[in-house]
């Protein structure tokens, strides 16, 4: 009986040892098998020599030496294991995960094909990129984003009511983009083309947080998803640019100019497919690769802070008012967006329980200097908006955005300050940002749906 117990205990010890081994990235499960066989050989021999299983195990483990040493030696031979590689389909060792990732791949291919088909479908009805550029400008996100939302909803097995809402919202977007009698050169077309993507992206967000759309954690995940998606998309766009350049120049060398193919097929099809592929990549690589957006924010937060402070100092030093040209408001809106992005992506990567540190103070400085600049700009504009140009869709939209961002950043600055002074927990800041997402959505929809009639389709 005791022999039996001894054996059980020995097995438990082996299991525990295996766990330690498997935590090492340098050691694969097959290495663990091999080393375990070695350890068992050693134990068997020691037991045969008269030791108890317990003692034999201890001695055998001791002989093998420290796992640190062992993994270092393995890493020298298998240095590639320190780099995490993207596994497109499976080979993770577990058959369940393998089938799942293969199904994901197929769903992605189908959705990307759908997106490509939708971008080319209008051409069947005689709408060409050259003559109907305004149609494509208004609708380009409507070709790709529904498919990305479909992929995400499929992946999360969204329930029927949610799918209904998603379909309804995309239909509403299509109506907003096409139902109003907007002239091709009107400001409203431009305003709609800018705001519809924002509105629709947040619909994609709804698909993303399908399982629990109220949860701030899930919304934060969507913010992370957005950052990573954007980076993958930009990387693919760069790759696509290189591909087009090679295609164009090599074919040109043999007297064929593939300009039509590139601008009518490669570019639109590639861009819409990339929207879905980027979403799939983020989902597939979520746990494999370190999130890159927070890394970039870490790099650029100090640089942006320095640039904004330098600008403020220069304004005070020269006592030169900010010259507000027609487009200046948009520029400063973009500045606020960048600052908000820097804030959001550092929040997304921060350990909520860590105490306030130097970086938080740096962020406060960034946000406060952005606010100061924006207040200067608003003061400058307040005098003009009423008299010079009157209110136009462009101006009203830009001003609305400015107010929304200003409110967000002002309250963020306050929360950051109280967090640094240890009055509020970090979670308050996170909740404020995730809770603010519907505000952006509401504003984007208002601009898209209400502005054109409000400004009599100007």
């Amino acid at each position: 009986m005791t022999a039996r117990e001894d054996q059980d205990e020995l097995e438990a010890q082996f299991a525990q040892w295996r766990q330690y081994v498997q935590r090492r990235r340098e050691l694969l499960p097959s290495d663990a098998d091999e080393l375990e066989d070695h350890l068992r050989g050693s134990v068997d021999e020691l037991v045969a020599a008269g030791l108890s299983p317990d003692e034999a195990f201890l001695v055998a483990v001791k002989r093998m030496g420290s796992l640190d040493e062992l993994s270092r030696e393995f890493a020298r031979e298998h240095s590639e294991r320190l780099w995490k590689q993207l596994v497109l389909t499976g080979e993770t060792g577990s058959p369940v995960a393998d089938t799942r990732s293969r199904r994901d791949l197929w769903a992605m291919v189908i959705c990307a094909a759908g997106a490509v088909a939708s971008v080319k479908a209008p051409a069947l009805f005689g709408l060409s990129f050259e003559d109907d550029s305004s149609f494509y400008a208004r609708n380009f996100t409507l070709f790709a984003l529904p498919w990305l939302a479909a992929f995400l909803a499929w992946r999360r097995q969204a329930r029927r009511p949610l799918i209904g809402i998603l379909v309804a919202l995309f239909a509403l977007g299509a109506v907003a983009a096409n139902a109003y009698p907007l002239a091709d050169k009107s400001q409203s077309v431009v305003v709609t083309s800018i705001h519809l993507p924002i509105a629709l992206w947040l619909v994609v967000g709804l698909a993303y947080v399908a399982d629990d759309w109220r949860s701030p954690r899930r919304r934060m995940d969507f913010i992370r998803f957005t950052g990573e998606w954007f980076i993958y998309f930009v990387l693919m766009a760069l790759g696509g640019g290189v591909l087009s350049a090679f295609l164009f120049n090599t074919f040109k060398a043999i007297g064929i100019v593939p300009e039509g193919f590139i601008s009518h097929w490669l570019l639109p099809c590639g861009a819409t497919a990339a929207v879905v592929v980027a979403g799939w990549l983020v989902e597939a690589k979520q746990s494999v690769v370190e999130n890159i957006a927070p890394v970039l924010t870490r790099l650029f937060t100090p640089l942006f802070t320095a640039a904004l402070l330098a600008f403020l100092v220069a304004v005070v030093w020269t006592s030169h008012g900010i010259d507000v040209e027609r487009e200046a408001l948009i520029l400063f809106d973009l500045l606020l967006v960048v600052v908000l992005g820097l804030l959001l992506y550092s929040l997304s990567a921060r350990d909520p329980l860590a105490p306030p540190g130097l970086f938080d103070k740096l962020q406060l400085a960034l946000v406060v200097s952005a606010l100061a600049i924006d207040v200067l700009v608003l003061l400058e504009i307040a005098g003009r908006i009423t008299d010079e140009y009157g209110s136009t869709p462009n101006r009203a939209a830009a001003l609305g955005e400015n107010v929304i961002l200003l409110v967000n950043l002002a309250w963020s600055a306050w929360l950051l300050l109280t967090f640094i002074r240890r009055r509020t927990p970090f979670a308050a800041l996170e909740r404020w940002q995730t809770g603010y997402l519907p505000v952006y959505a509401a504003w984007a929809w208002i601009v898209v749906l209400v502005f054109p009639p409000l400004f009599s389709y100007a």
Binding site: L35, D37, H38
Partner: protein
């Protein structure tokens, strides 16, 4: 007999021909290879697992050995290594190199032996 501690560099340099040589006798697995080395050196060569397994994986990558999994008892699996044609050629090459080195060393040891003061180095076993 005084125990000899073989320097780490020398152990590393001789590791490949030793493993290939053992595998040339017959296919084997990690633990048995380690036992065999221990036996051959009279317990003087102290190899670690951190030396042996990465080396076996490297030899496999270079195509000198090939491996296969065989089940032993219960769920226990054992990875057997077998030498390949390429491995045999490499072994022959390494052997030529080692013969050269060993021959040269022997000449030197013998030469020193004639001279006198260093006769304390016994060539074989006890004096």
């Amino acid at each position: 007999m005084r125990s000899v501690k073989v320097a780490k560099d020398l152990v590393a340099a001789s590791a490949t021909p030793m493993v290939l040589g053992i595998l040339a006798e017959d296919a084997s697995y990690g633990y048995a290879i380690l036992r065999r080395i221990n036996e051959l050196s009279g317990g003087e060569l102290d190899w670690t697992e951190g030396l042996l397994y990465p080396l076996l994986h490297r030899l496999e990558r270079l195509g000198y050995v090939e491996s296969s999994w065989q089940s032993v008892t219960g769920e226990r699996r054992r990875k057997y290594y077998r030498i390949t044609e390429k491995g045999l050629a490499e072994l022959a090459e390494q052997r030529r190199q080692w013969d050269t080195v060993v021959d040269a060393l022997k000449e030197i040891w013998l030469g020193l032996g004639d001279r006198g003061p260093l006769t304390a180095i016994p060539l074989e076993g006890g004096a």
